[in-house]
Every structure is written in structure tokens, then in C-alpha cells.
């Protein structure tokens, strides 16, 4: 570790201990200190600091309540580990390393790696890509260990398990948390394998955070996932809450469940159940058996955009991300290794969890060489795929881009059960993309005129 990084670590720990002693009193004091150091130069983020200041001065503010709940609801050691692994290693220290390597190698270096430890799942939900993969594929412990070891060399400290049901391999996942105690592990899970014993193991390793899949309330969840699943999920959430372990939820919105899953009643439910974050995913028509009719209509997507931005983000103490509509905060598409990539249980290195076209396999190449492969370089050179970041994806909103990249790079389908051609996939998105464009352009113009922005701080 460099001297600068050691200094950062010491500084961060000092600030954290101070915060930990009395967050109510010390959060504003730390902000005073930040203001003093930031000064008022051009790179001092005045508008961002002003927003943060208004949050911490209003104790009824939803963001303040969320921050405070990290102290009241989360185990002390787990919270400390999260701050250290996620913020310090994953961002402050990791980001610098990632940037250096981006310059050095001229390719994308991600912030997080998503990987499938297994294609096996204990449930068989309709429309799930894992169900179609079959139950045969696994990354071994040593392979995952090697991915993480290589990742840390490049500055990557965030690993997110997907699948399959990752917790089918729970002992291996705990072992990996234990071995890589400087990383933060998140995990998409149906939660049915989270029990008292596993929660105790999570408390022991301190760096494992589940993102539990829910489809809505009982009827909607059981309808897709099977009878009794919702009650098991609620039980898992209760265990996590009792043990003071942090967790979030992952929700897929479709034309069928849009109204209920984006309702205020549901978001309030998530907060009450104890979720600290909610990741919303737009239904993607991926796979030969996909149902394109399940893609939300432009009206539905617009409605959700407004509910999140005009209501939930100002009122609900939960970190809510709507990936398809939040592109502007992260510069558009984050896949292809720009901020993340996906490795499936066969070792194929996909640009995205939804885009299963690849020319590289982690069993044949180093992680760095995968990032320098033709498909990832096509992403690197093509991003952002659209100036309008409400149309971020090279498949859903810009299907011609994916067609072009697959044709140019010769990437093949990595779906081991039923390979789908890029043409077949993209054809399902053409009409969607054309229909969404007018709404996307309208919303983008409305939110990106000078009148609606305080970005540069100038009054116009």
C-alpha cells in the first residue's frame, strides 16, 4: 500500500471513530470541516455540498433518517466494515487504482464485478434466465478466488453475486468473505436459504450484504416464484433485522406488475421491513423464451420516473435506484467493464448481466485480457451509447448499437441452454426503442435546460 493510501486509511478511521461516538452531534461538525477544506474554488462542489448540508441540518429529512438508521439498525462492527470496505477501499482507494489502470491499459476497469457462483437454483421462477441455464454450471472456489485476487490488483473491491441462487454455495461464499476481508460482497438472492445460522455467519464475516428479490406483495411474489416464497422472504428479512444486518431488495418492473411494485404502499413496506436500499430493474426481453409484452410502456416508465424523482427520493428513507432511468448520474451505460461486468457460471465474461455476448472466458484469459478483448473494447469506444442518458442501453434503447458491436467483434452468445442471436434479441427492442424515444427526449430536455439545473452555479 502506498504512503498516501495509508494516510487515507488512518484519516478515514479517525473520522469514522469520531462519527461513531455521536453521529447526531458529529455529522454537522465533519461537514464544517469538509467545507473549510473544500474552499470555494471551481472544483469544490459547492452545489453538492449545499445539498448535503441541507440534508444534515433537517433531522426529518429522509436521507438524514436513512443515515441515522445505519447507527440504530446496523451492528457496530458490520457498519464499520461496510464503511471501510465499501467507501474507503471500494471508492477512495479503489477508484485511484482503477483510474491509473484505465490510463495505463487504455481499457475499461470496473468498479464492481458481478459473478454467478452457480447456475443452480432452489426455485424455478417463470421467465428467470437462471431457470433456463439449467443446474449444471459452477465457478469453483479457486476460480472465484482468482477473479477477486486479480480484481484487487486492478483496484476492484466490490463483488456482487448473481446466478442461479448464489446461496446454494453459501459455505464457499462465507469462505471468500473471510479470505477477502477487505472487499464488500453483495448478493442477489431469493432469500429462502437465509436462516439463523447463516445470519450468524454473516455477522462473523461482516462483509456480506444481501439484495433480496421481491416481485411486490405476497400474491405477486408467489405468483412468479412459487407458493409460500413470500412468507419465507419475510421471515429472512425479520432474521436479518433482528441480527442488525444490512440488506436491500431487488425488484424487476414489468408491464404487468408496474402499478403495484412502484406504489407508495410498496415502497413504505420495504422501509418497514428494514430494507436500506432498493434496486429497480426494467424487464429485459432476454432469451429465446422472453415475453416482450412484459416490457413496460413509455407511459408506465415515465410514471415511475416521476414517482421516484418527484416523490420517493424526497420522502422515503431508503436508497432507491432505478437503473434504467438513472443513467445520467453515472454517465450512461455502466456495462462492458466501464463500472461493472458479469462473469457467468461457465466462466464467460459478459459485458452486462443482461447481455450475454462475449469473446472471452476467465478460464482461458486473465481478467485484464478479458477487459482488453474486442467486445469490451467496443463498449469502451462506444460509450456513452446515447447523449440522452434516459436512453443508455446499447440493447434496449439503441438496439442497432448491439447489433453492430456483436457483428464487428464476432462475440458469441454465452447462453449455454438456448443461444439467442443478437438479431433475434435486438429485433424485440426495435419497437420499444422507437416508442420510448419521444418520451425520453421530452423528459431529458425538461430536466436538462439551464432553468432546471444548478450544475455550474451560474444564474441564467
Amino acid at each position: 500500500m502506498s504512503v498516501i493510501d495509508s494516510v487515507k486509511k488512518v484519516g478515514f478511521r479517525t473520522i469514522y471513530s469520531y462519527l461513531d461516538k455521536d453521529p447526531d452531534a458529529n455529522i454537522p461538525k465533519i461537514m464544517d470541516w469538509v467545507d473549510k477544506f473544500a474552499g470555494d474554488g471551481p472544483n469544490s462542489f459547492p452545489s453538492q455540498r449545499a445539498v448535503f448540508r441541507s440534508v444534515i441540518e433537517d433531522h426529518n429529512n429522509n436521507w438524514y433518517r436513512l443515515i441515522k438508521s445505519m447507527w440504530s439498525d446496523i451492528d457496530d462492527d458490520v457498519r464499520r466494515t461496510f464503511f471501510e470496505n465499501f467507501f474507503l477501499n471500494g471508492n477512495l482507494i479503489g477508484w485511484k487504482k482503477q483510474e491509473e489502470n484505465r490510463q495505463k491499459y487504455g481499457c475499461n476497469i470496473p468498479w464492481a464485478i458481478l459473478l454467478d457462483p452457480t447456475s443452480a437454483c432452489n426455485l424455478h421462477c417463470t421467465g428467470c434466465w437462471a431457470a433456463e441455464y439449467g443446474n449444471k454450471l459452477n465457478l469453483t472456489f479457486d476460480e472465484i478466488d482468482s477473479i477477486i485476487t486479480q480484481g484487487k490488483e486492478l483496484g476492484i473491491y466490490i463483488y456482487i453475486y448473481t446466478g442461479g441462487e448464489p446461496l446454494v454455495r453459501k459455505n464457499d461464499l462465507i469462505a471468500l468473505c473471510n479470505k477477502h476481508s477487505d472487499c464488500e460482497f453483495l448478493c442477489f438472492t431469493n432469500a429462502t436459504l437465509i436462516d439463523e445460522d447463516f445470519a450468524n455467519e454473516m455477522l462473523r464475516v461482516k462483509n456480506f450484504v444481501p439484495a433480496i428479490s421481491v416481485e411486490g406483495f405476497e400474491q405477486a411474489t408467489d405468483g412468479r416464484r412459487g407458493d409460500g416464497v413470500f412468507q419465507k422472504v419475510r421471515r429472512a428479512m425479520q432474521i436479518l433485522k433482528e441480527k442488525k444486518l444490512p440488506f436491500g431488495v431487488s425488484c424487476c418492473y414489468t408491464s404487468a406488475n408496474m402499478e403495484s411494485i412502484s406504489s407508495e404502499e410498496f415502497v413504505d413496506g420495504l422501509v418497514e421491513w428494514g430494507a436500506k436500499f432498493a434496486w429497480y430493474f426494467h424487464y429485459m426481453p432476454v432469451g429465446n423464451d422472453a415475453v416482450p409484452e412484459l416490457m413496460p410502456t413509455p407511459e408506465q416508465r415515465e410514471e415511475f420516473y416521476h414517482r421516484v424523482r418527484d416523490n420517493y427520493r424526497h420522502t422515503k428513507p431508503i436508497f432507491l435506484l432505478d437503473f434504467q432511468n438513472d443513467g445520467e448520474y453515472v454517465g450512461g451505460c455502466i456495462a462492458g467493464g466501464r463500472r461493472y461486468l458479469h462473469i457467468n457460471a461457465n466462466g464467460d465474461v459478459d459485458p452486462c448481466v443482461f447481455i450475454h455476448y462475449s469473446d472471452s472466458n476467465i478460464r482461458e484469459k486473465s481478467l485484464l485480457d478479458c477487459l482488453r478483448g474486442p467486445m469490451f473494447m467496443a463498449y469502451h469506444d462506444g460509450q456513452p451509447f446515447n447523449e440522452n442518458m434516459l436512453r443508455p442501453c446499447p440493447m434496449l434503447e439503441n438496439p442497432e448499437k448491439l447489433r453492430e458491436m456483436v457483428a464487428k467483434t464476432g462475440a458469441h452468445s454465452t447462453d449455454p441452454e438456448s443461444p439467442e442471436s443478437a438479431e433475434h434479441l435486438c429485433a424485440k427492442c426495435d419497437a420499444y426503442a422507437a416508442n420510448w424515444k419521444p418520451t425520453a427526449d421530452k423528459l431529458w430536455t425538461a430536466s436538462h435546460s439551464c432553468a432546471s439545473c444548478s450544475g455550474c452555479g451560474e444564474q441564467k
Binding site: F141, D145, N171, D172, I174, A175, L176, N178, K179, S181
Partner: protein, 193 residues
């Protein structure tokens, strides 16, 4: 979690430490020795140092289980054990930073000394801080003696030195506590008494 796997790992590490230092041993080598998978090892421990830490932690907990009056005798026994296993102890010790070992030794040596200081303090009007100061002073001396013993290769038993220390402490704890409870001359201001 079956305790036996952890104990199996501990035993295998002990065997390997007979012939090489901790930093020369790999996890792969260890798991071969005890016939488990790498993931089984990492399920329990983050690395080989964590196995040593756990061993020390277990001993410390055992020490906490017995009454304070027996701590000194226990200390004697531990030092005797360390001496008998000196090859293994030194192979582990040489892979650590000295300051890390010192930190752990301080926890260990504090306990038996603390008990004796508290006992002696009953006859003196001293504060808790003053007792802690005397404990710190004496345990720091003991820590340095043990570290020097390690550094010089543990050539003779430490128990003789412990006996000497016990004898010295007997009278001097009383003396130190008595001095602390009395008014004193200040170096910088001889007028002030």
C-alpha cells in the same frame, strides 16, 4: 461449525511449524497436510496468521475461566509450554512484526500482575489510575523480558526468571504503592511539597 475442523487445521499448522517459519508455509500445503479443501480452510480462517490468533485467543479465554489467584501459576505453566515447544514458537514468532507480538503479550502479562497489584493495593490509599500505572510499569518489564527471550532463541527455560520476578514484585509492589499514596517533592519546584 464443527470445532474438529478448526482443531485439525491447528494441529496441521503445528506440525508444519516444526520445520519452517510461518511465512514460508502456504495454505495449499496446510490443507494437504490435514486433508481438507482450501475453501474449508477459508471458511474458518482468513489466513494462517488467523490460526495462530485463534490459538492465542483460546488460551486467553481459558485463562479468563480460572480464578485470578491461579493466574500466576498458569503463567508459569504457559511459559513452560512455550519453552518445550520453542522450535514451533520461534517459527511462528519470526513471521510476525515485533510490535504485534508486543501488543498481544501486553494483554497476557497484565492479568497476573493486575491481580497482585490489586491485592497489595488494599493496604494503601491509591486511586485506580495509580494501580493501573504500577500494573503497566511491571507488565511492560515482563513483556520486554519475554521479547528478549524470544529474540535470543529461547535457550533456557523462562520459569526461573519468572520466579525471580515474583520475588522482586513481592516487596516492591508495596513500596511503589506506598510511594504513590504519599505527598512528594516535585523535581521542577522543590518549594512545593
Amino acid at each position: 461449525m464443527p470445532k474438529s475442523t478448526k482443531e485439525g487445521i491447528q494441529k496441521a499448522l503445528y506440525e508444519l511449524l516444526r520445520t519452517k517459519t510461518l511465512d514460508e508455509i502456504t495454505v495449499t500445503e496446510l490443507v494437504e497436510q490435514c486433508g481438507i479443501s482450501r475453501q474449508a480452510f477459508y471458511y474458518h480462517f482468513s489466513d494462517l496468521y488467523a490460526v495462530v490468533d485463534w490459538t492465542l485467543q483460546e488460551k486467553l479465554e481459558a485463562l479468563n475461566q480460572i480464578p485470578g489467584s491461579q493466574w500466576w501459576a498458569m503463567m508459569n505453566q504457559i511459559m513452560e509450554e512455550l519453552y518445550v515447544n520453542r522450535v514451533v514458537v520461534l517459527n511462528a514468532y519470526r513471521a510476525y512484526e515485533r510490535s504485534y507480538v508486543e501488543y498481544h503479550l501486553r494483554q497476557w502479562t497484565r492479568m497476573p500482575i493486575q491481580v497482585r497489584v490489586a491485592e497489595a493495593a488494599r493496604h494503601h490509599r491509591v486511586t485506580q489510575e495509580q494501580q493501573d500505572f504500577v500494573t503497566e510499569l511491571c507488565s511492560q518489564g515482563l513483556v520486554n523480558l519475554i521479547l528478549n527471550w524470544f529474540d535470543r532463541g529461547m535457550r533456557s527455560p523462562f520459569t526461573d526468571r519468572l520466579d525471580d520476578l515474583y520475588a522482586i514484585l513481592d516487596g516492591s509492589l508495596d513500596y511503589m504503592l506506598a510511594r504513590l499514596s504519599q505527598p512528594r517533592h516535585h523535581f521542577d519546584n522543590p518549594e512545593k511539597v
